[in-house]
């Protein structure tokens, strides 16, 4: 580098030039912001699992999909603000339901918890309020599809409820009254005491994945095949 303190040359720029730079900077920022803004509301043509897939509530009140007598149970601890739960939903779940749940091999049980960030609790409460009207799986699907696109606030939750065709008045009353907040918080504390350190955590036939110290999910289908073989031997 050449010496630093030589007399400035061409540096006495008129303020007009700086005004121009500010204008260009504003324009560039506007283009960057506009380009960054994601598209609007996302939805599937068919919302929720296929009607042919059985659904119900476990004895302790968790929602499940599949045959209640399925030989293998997959318990899924999930947080609706967790990006990797969204990835699990978008990448893995469709095949999981088609090939394992709908065929009666696996029962999929969802255990919502709220541990990841400030959006976790409101999103979880919204899903449970939807569940109260019988739309757990539908609402959960749209929450995941719109995670990161829509802000997790009352308006967005109402928009999702409306899209599904729910009774939005009683949905909003449930959400505003925080009907499920205590339940969700207690479930989250219980899960953490149980050793759930992050989401998604899968418990397949009683065995936890990932085990402590592991950071990536196992090949879920490989594990399911193995557990199914063991259970049906």
């Amino acid at each position: 580098m050449a010496k630093s303190n030589r007399p400035a040359k061409g540096r006495s720029q008129p303020w007009l030039v700086y005004g121009g730079i500010v204008a260009i900077a504003l324009l560039v920022t506007a283009v960057l912001v506009y380009s960054n803004f994601p598209g609007g509301f996302s939805s599937d043509a068919q919302i929720g699992p296929d009607a042919s897939v059985q659904r119900g509530l476990t004895g302790n009140g968790y929602h499940y999909l599949g045959d209640e007598d399925a030989p293998v149970t997959l318990v899924l601890y999930e947080d609706f603000a967790c990006p990797n739960c969204k990835i699990f939903f978008t990448v893995t779940e469709e095949t999981l339901i088609e090939q394992y749940v709908a065929t009666g091999k696996v029962l999929l049980e969802s255990r919502p918890i709220a541990i990841v960030n400030a959006g976790s609790l409101p999103a979880g409460e919204a899903v449970l309020c939807a569940a109260d009207q019988g739309y757990f799986w539908e609402y959960r699907e749209l929450i995941f599809l719109n995670q990161g696109n829509l802000p997790y606030n009352r308006n967005s939750f109402k928009l999702i409820a409306d899209r599904i065709g729910m009774d939005t008045t009683s949905f909003l009353k449930c959400y505003d009254d925080h009907v499920f907040r205590d339940e969700l918080q207690q479930d989250s504390i219980a899960a953490q005491q149980f050793g759930i350190e992050g989401t998604p955590t899968l418990i397949i036939a009683g065995e936890r994945f990932p085990k402590t110290g592991e950071t990536s999910l196992p090949d879920v289908f490989e594990v399911l095949d193995q557990k199914y073989s063991e259970a049906t031997e």
Binding site: S4, R6, R11, Y18, T29, C82, V116, A118, G198, S216
Partner: protein, 140 residues
């Protein structure tokens, strides 16, 4: 505080920005962590706001820091860049400050998740902008 010191401070902040954005890019590209635990960088860095035209913002930030540092280093060289260095630094850091403000808004009000490494970058670029203005005011 003389101009050389201010320039060095600015370069130092730029180096902090480079390290920070290299780390954020690494997280973005490897995506090795498949589990969300308490802490929000993965929420921020994997959201649909983390890319422009498919390019991760962390990479754009890294490129911006590298370019700004390069301009600092070319400041005393002959040529157009050398002649207009301070103006270029002012313009680029201003874009950085404005865009960081937008991203911080997204973190706080849309994603409701704060990524400390993103905040570090916002602070670094804001301080660089402040140094650029100070140097400009002194020279004019």
């Amino acid at each position: 505080m003389n101009d050389l010191l201010l320039k060095r401070i600015s370069i130092g902040l730029g180096i902090i920005g480079v390290i920070d954005t290299v780390y954020l890019s690494w997280i973005k590209f490897t995506s090795t962590v498949a589990i969300c635990s308490v802490g929000d960088c993965s929420a921020v860095n994997s959201s649909s706001y983390s890319e422009i035209f498919g390019i991760p913002i962390a990479i754009l930030g890294l490129a911006a820091y590298v370019v700004i540092i390069a301009i600092h280093l070319l400041e005393d060289q002959e040529g157009w860049i050398g002649d207009n260095a301070l103006m270029l630094i002012f313009g680029l850091t201003l874009i950085g400050v404005l865009y960081s403000a937008y991203l911080t808004y997204i973190e706080l009000f849309i994603l409701r998740a704060i990524c400390p490494y993103c905040v570090l970058s916002a602070v670094a670029i804001t301080l660089m902008f402040g140094v650029a203005i100070t140097r400009m005011l002194r020279e004019n």
